[in-house]
Symmetry: C2
Subunit: 762 residues, 2 copies
């Protein structure tokens, strides 16, 4: 009977899935979400994990915590701010949701009338090639962006393949139409990001070139190949840098007009056309991290058509396939939140290799990916928490390729370390910890390791023993980082302890007892920075004494990075039970976490919080940044797990809205969105590298997760609504679940779970 019932349920799941699979899910994706204020997402076109991410630039140099222009505060990271009134053009590379900036390569802008090669200023938009625009004339979809450029009466449309951007510009009738290629433009150009650029006009429809920048990536080269659908009738450039050595020799040709090639530090080029009313000029724009020849090969492989709609549709079909990995039941707003989040989890990391497998390695040499797709844009301090665990469920093969990319990074790392923040063949060293070990360990522990797992363990161990890096030496020798040795001594100690636990889990899985012993011991180091007197993780000096001047509310100079002691004290994701004990037991712990959510943080503390709007904070709980993402789930280790359910259902609608200002903090290359996916499905990976998920409170009415091999994990949610947030009962594959945890196998084996919800906690 039991067996039959299971079969019945599975069949139901399949039918539900089959029914849902035809629904257009791209319709729910709103790339515009997060473009206002601090989300740092972009509204432009990309396929999943595309190397080209083609999006408008609104040229906001910097903005303040409310997303308003302020040159002295925050960087403009994704190229587009919803409140801006003008567009300067469309560039081919973007980060999604980061807190620092780079990219924005190869800006293209169509104009008519008198040629202006300067972008002009926000205050005087007519002084340059920029154009005012209106959101009323803007369409932003997965792999499609459209906007009317009011200044020029041009409709701009764009779509992409993995390595090629497709532009389609519908012009008015003009004897003086231009397409500008601005090689100077870039995101966060301060102080002088361009190192060198080169451009070669092969004929009147083909141009190639490259750009070398010194930005967040210290030495980043990107190559391009550009094809016009219609021959230009003239072309030229202007060099905005100071005079060059021997510049006069090249003057033997008139290089300004119709030059065959040009190189320099600050170049803007233009291409002239005559257009009829409604005439479309299209551009294919391929990029390569390897060479101009590589860009041409990428173009030839991926851009075989001038049919813009076909390219758009092919790309949207890729999105449909990815989005269908989780189908949900719920209202439109829920689906918009959910599929926009799904979309945002599939922008970064990005493919970083040519169609022939060649890519630039961290050693600045050209390498060939052997049997995997090479990725870059790893914001691992953020993404190890939920993004990579999500990939391990719905896209394990890609996650394994990402692990292989990280191991290839290790092999070429001059410091012999796994990536911290990998950006286009460069290491940014952004943020703390060595959280790549979490990603590698999570894959190994969860059985998703089609790579040399023992080599992966070695890479982790080598990284974790790098005594010269950010206090690791002190940490290894003393069990903590002394306050006087590092500004972030406490958060680094906590993060290393978690990472070390990951390494221990991996070693355990691989049967390496010596490494397990070494690192399980290190993983307890968090205890060394807990001060029972203050009741917080607390900066400690080398003499073993806790610092006297201490403010647990501020994030400034208290030993923590991007967080205060109140939040960071809870950062022991790998051993909440011990943490609870350390903090005085179940009751005191609950009071502590309750207080975090209910405290009314004075404005003076808010003002110093990076990368998040005030909306990204609930009480003193900071959801707009990552260190607290696991916090609500910690109630599962107390006797009041219903408090987790309550808090999660409070956070979800507050922090995620299907509107431009719908994200309360940086999306951080998808981590914020991955939290949404897990939490709205009802569970969350509190400690990646364990095979356990803590249960929260599902916000969907039901869901089917494709877990590979044709299997599905069906989530049924009975009687859920905004008030019925409390779990009354859980049935897993026909059996009551008597704990607040799911295992990875529970999900990946396929099956079904049913949540019975009610308005009161049990």
């Amino acid at each position: 009977m039991k067996k039959l019932l299971t079969v019945f349920f599975i069949c139901t799941a399949f039918i539900a899935n089959a029914q849902k699979s035809t629904e257009n899910l791209v319709q729910y994706v709103k790339p515009i979400v997060g473009t206002q204020r601090m989300g740092h997402t972009f509204p432009g076109a990309t396929v999943p994990f595309g190397m080209v991410q083609l999006s408008p630039e609104t040229d906001t140099a910097s903005y303040d915590l409310n997303g308003h222009y302020n040159p002295k505060v925050y960087e403009y990271c994704a190229g587009y701010q919803y409140e801006d009134k003008t567009i300067v053009g469309f560039s081919h590379t973007h980060f999604s949701g980061t807190g620092h900036s780079d990219l924005g390569d190869f800006l293209i802008m169509p104009t008519v009338g008198k040629l202006k090669l300067n972008p002009g200023t926000v205050d005087k938009p007519h002084s340059g090639y920029r154009s005012p625009f209106s959101h009323a004339n803007e369409v932003s979809e997965a792999n499609y962006y459209k906007v009317k450029l009011d200044e020029h009466n041009i409709i701009a449309e764009m779509t992409t393949t993995t390595r090629v951007g497709f532009h389609q510009y519908t012009f008015p009738k003009s004897d003086s139409a231009h397409i500008i290629l601005d090689l100077m433009s870039g995101i966060y150009n301060y102080p002088d990001k361009n190192v060198w650029t080169y451009m070669r006009v092969i004929d009147d429809t083909h141009v190639v070139g490259y750009r070398l920048t010194n930005g967040w990536a210290r030495t980043r080269a990107l190559y391009f190949a550009m094809t016009f659908s219609k021959p230009f009738i003239a072309h030229g450039y202007k060099n905005y840098s100071k005079r060059e050595v021997y510049g006069g020799f090249w003057g033997k040709f008139n290089q300004t007009k119709d030059f065959p090639e040009i190189a320099g530090k600050q170049l803007r080029a233009y291409f002239d056309f005559k257009t009829e009313e409604g005439e479309k000029i299209k551009i294919k724009f391929a990029i390569s991290p390897v060479s101009m020849d590589g860009a041409v090969a990428n173009m030839n492989a991926e851009a075989t058509t001038w049919d813009f709609d076909k390219v758009k549709n092919d790309g949207q079909a890729q999105w449909e396939k990815e989005l269908h990995k989780i189908t949900i039941s719920g209202n439109k707003e829920l689906k918009e939140n959910f599929y926009t989040s799904m979309y945002h989890t599939m922008i970064n990391p990005t493919v970083y290799m040519d169609v022939d497998g060649q890519y630039k390695g961290l050693d600045q040499n050209i390498h060939k990916a052997d049997g995997f797709t090479n990725y870059t844009t790893f914001s691992l301090w953020d993404t190890h928490r939920a993004l990579h665990p999500l990939f391990n469920i719905i896209d394990p093969e890609r996650n394994a390729d990402m692990v292989k990319s990280m191991m290839a990074h290790f092999d070429l790392s001059p410091e012999h370390m796994l990536p911290v923040w990998s950006n286009s063949a460069n290491e940014n060293w952004c943020m703390s910890g060595y959280h790549s070990v979490s990603v590698l360990a999570d894959a190994v522990v969860k059985g998703n390791a089609p790579f040399d797992a023992n080599k992966a363990l070695e890479d982790c161990v080598t990284t974790a023993r790098h005594k010269d890096y950010l206090g690791i030496g002190y940490y290894m020798d003393m069990g903590f980082i002394p306050d006087e040795k590092d500004a972030n001594s406490v958060s680094s100690t906590l993060e290393y302890a978690y990472d070390d636990w990951c390494i221990a889990q991996m070693a355990k899985k691989l049967g390496n007892t010596a490494i397990y012993d070494e690192f399980i011991k290190r993983s307890e180091n968090y205890k060394n920075v807990y001060d029972p007197k203050s009741g917080f993780m607390h900066p400690k000096t080398a003499d073993g004494k806790f610092r006297k001047n201490f403010d647990p509310f501020t994030t400034i100079n208290q030993g923590f990075i991007e967080g205060n002691a109140w939040n960071y004290t809870l950062y022991v994701p790998h051993d909440p039970a011990s943490l609870i004990k350390l903090m005085g037991g179940n009751k005191r712990f609950i009071v502590y976490v309750d207080s975090l959510f209910s405290y009314n943080l004075p404005d003076k503390y808010f003002a110093e919080t990076e990368d998040i709007t005030k909306d990204g904070i609930i009480g003193n709980y900071v959801h707009g940044n990552e260190p607290s993402h696991h916090v609500a789930y910690l109630y599962d280790w107390t006797d009041k797990p219903w408090k987790a359910q309550e808090k999660i259902r409070m956070i979800l609608p507050k922090m995620y809205k299907p509107t431009p200002d719908g994200l309360g903090g940086n999306d951080d290359t998808g981590q914020m969105s991955a939290w949404y996916i897990f939490s709205s499905l009802g569970f969350y990976p509190v400690a990646p590298a364990s095979d356990q998920y803590a249960i929260g409170s599902p916000a969907v009415d039901g869901a089917t997760v494709q877990v590979g091999g044709g299997k599905t994990f069906a989530i049924h949610v009975n009687n859920q609504n905004a008030k019925n947030v409390y779990i009354q009962k859980i049935v897993l594959n026909g059996k009551p679940l008597d704990k607040m945890f799911l295992s990875h196998a529970d999900i990946m084996n396929g099956g079904e779970i049913t949540f019975f919800m009610g308005p009161k906690h049990k």
Copy 2:
């Protein structure tokens, strides 16, 4: 009988050759010749046509016509000026004898004592790492250079393979010995040549990196791999450029000391050692135009030993082989002049590809040379005259590879032109004409064309029809370049006419009548700028009138480049007979040329003459620059060829001495030296692309030229000395020669020629 005699003579030649072949000829090579004043040669180490040319830098920014420091006058081109008192270090790339500068990559300097990372100044040598030195402690040989660095009491020695520089530094005992790698240093750095540099310390004996410069080559990248014979005990760097974007992130490591990698615009690095008295630290330093991996591969292929003497001896053996292609009889001074000239003809062009055949093309992509060695450093305005014709006799295979390199350049040229001045995957456009066609035509006409000769002709024709380039359009449409359209209208018209004749000869050889007809007609365009009234080639305006204000002595604004009307009027190398007619016939022509040599040029004219010392001028005849190199031989077309003999024997000792100041002008990558080789052997290629050589007056007592296939061309000179400069009789292969011309076949078929000399002309 006749036959027997010939056999006898040939046997004699063979015996003579066999006897001479064991003589050490490297002993006569004095690389120091031309390093004083305007020769612009360098004294350092290289194998023939080496990619690495490792030589000391004396850091003279610029100097005047007498070779004295003057920052406002001339560039420092080869890195070394004999009169300088200090050496700043040893760099790996140099031009030999050019008039403009670039290169000087990767400067290495050993020091002891307090670390100084600035080179210091000439006035205060102790303020930096530079060292005083003395010529008494200097040895400069083919592929070997040695000097004592007085400041540091270090003996520096260097030698090379084609792609690897070998350094050997003998230190005193020191606890503080350093080897500095200065990535900022370069030749003619003004105003800001370095674009970007990168360095990666792999371990304590291996370093790789690259440098991107914007110099005479607009965009030049060079990669390196460096290996120390002894592990350094510490290393560090200083960045002399302004702060970098996000520079702080890399500060997570202490990168100043023992950094793993660094990148920036202005870097100097150091490596620390402890040394015993007399301890040798050696460095292998490989370069590549392709990549760091390429440099490593070049290192592995060529630098398999640490035996410095072996590398030196192997390289000198290469020189012996090359030098033995012409063995001569004569005194020591003659041999020093001759073999130093031979040496200087084999420095440039330079190999420009890795051991695997990969090289960077003019399109900035990586290419693979298919069946040839790729070369760069083509100073064709100079070298088409005698250097490439010399190669067609003694090294035809290499010359054909150079032609193939030039054709590969054409294939990648965005302007679709053969090289004008090719420098490391860049076109400098230096000087006028399209003289590569002379090189291609000379090879084809002389039967040295193991390449697609018809394609070569096409490349020439396409180049010659490039209407946008330097007045070619006017030249094609009007038969001359109007004075008002180009500052060098007359010299360009003359040069194009000669080049066009070359194309015609090539077309004739290939049976292409249409091209022959077109270009033989163009080759007569020189007539259009001859003014019978002034008696000179004369600037002419578009209305067909000759310019009124005209000074045939000055080189400034008279329609000529690097020459005056007096010299340039004789520039019709392809048709002296017609020129003589045009200028009023035999008698008037002789008076004209006589006057050229006897005129006492006022100092005011001398002061404006570029690239030559006053010693480079005889009367108004300018031997120190190329346009007059054929002039003395023009007497062969008159009834007084003995005047050619007289003038040539006057020029030879005046212009070529085996002393540092022995060259009267830029050696121009070997053209000046090639003139010496030909002229001292007794003949000269007045018009390359003809198969004729005009006979002068041999200055050797005899010579044997290896012409390939085991054949030799023996030159016997009877009764020659400084007074006996006049030819009494010539016997070619046993037959009296009754003309003043030799054919290419006469030489290349092997055989012998005997000059009978006397004190009076016949």
